[in-house]
Symmetry: C2
Subunit: 164 residues, 2 copies
């Protein structure tokens, strides 16, 4: 099972989480970044599932863990994690998901299931290069692509048919 298909399938999510934390630690060590307790905690919470998490939900969960936190606590951690490619922000949801390929240069697309709310990260060259080519045709220099696809994952599509 590849990382990109894992989100919608049954899997041992503990492995996802552990791998994400391990990769983050490695990346920060390599780059001389400080993966502080707050940042690690937020990263762990973001990775607690494949469902995107909002900033204030993270705040609540931090408080549940007994952490004294205010909005800037969360936003600062998110900013750090975004800046170094450890998480992604889903613009259409104002929410955050873990990056499956931290440290690797990649252009990601997100498949967002509107029923189970799980999100899969995809890196299809066919998509990113079609966007680049289309941009270039209009003499537009593309620097950053946001691609968010809403719909139903295989499992939820079947559920919907069952209950239709």
């Amino acid at each position: 099972m590849t990382a990109s298909t894992a989100a919608f399938a049954e899997h041992d999510h503990q492995r996802c989480l552990q791998q994400a934390l391990r990769k983050a630690a490695l990346l920060c060590q390599e780059r001389g970044l400080r993966l502080t307790e707050q940042r690690r905690r937020v990263l762990r919470l973001v990775w607690s599932s494949h469902q995107p998490v909002g900033a204030y939900e993270l705040l609540d969960r931090l408080r549940d863990e007994g952490i004294r936190a205010a909005p800037p606590t969360v936003y600062r951690a998110l900013e750090f994690l975004l800046e170094h490619g450890l998480i992604h922000r889903l613009e259409g949801l104002n929410a955050y998901v873990g990056c499956t390929r931290p440290g690797e240069a990649h252009r990601a697309q997100f498949l967002i299931c509107d029923r189970c709310h799980r999100v899969a990260e995809v890196s299809a060259d066919s998509v990113s290069s079609a966007i680049s080519a289309s941009s270039a045709r209009l003499d537009f220099q593309a620097a950053r692509q946001t691609v968010e696809v809403h719909g139903y994952c295989a499992h939820c599509r079947n559920e919907c048919h069952d209950h239709a």
Copy 2:
């Protein structure tokens, strides 16, 4: 000049505006929708340029015109215009732009110049079908695509070189 390239080039914007209002009136008449004064006003303000406009900016401009308006006034108009495909929402900017092809089924991508803040709407089949194909490969039923590309338009890229 096609609609999709107009945004970044010199052009008679009055024509864009008038055409947008004309198309909107036509579409509403065909569908039995009420293009009320508030809705027309908001549509006109959204179309006042190719730069996306935020809800509260619209609110301010309505007030400048002497209209008594509160947030729901604007959001209700925006909701109507979005629902019937007269405008688009740019998720990454929390802002709105006029739709260049109201009434036509189309999947749009947006080229957003980070310098002049103008936005061009594109409908590249190569992009939308690459996204559909990529989704299908993961057995994901794509219903709606959000594609927002940040970068520099031709004009601004040259400006940047000049001043570099």
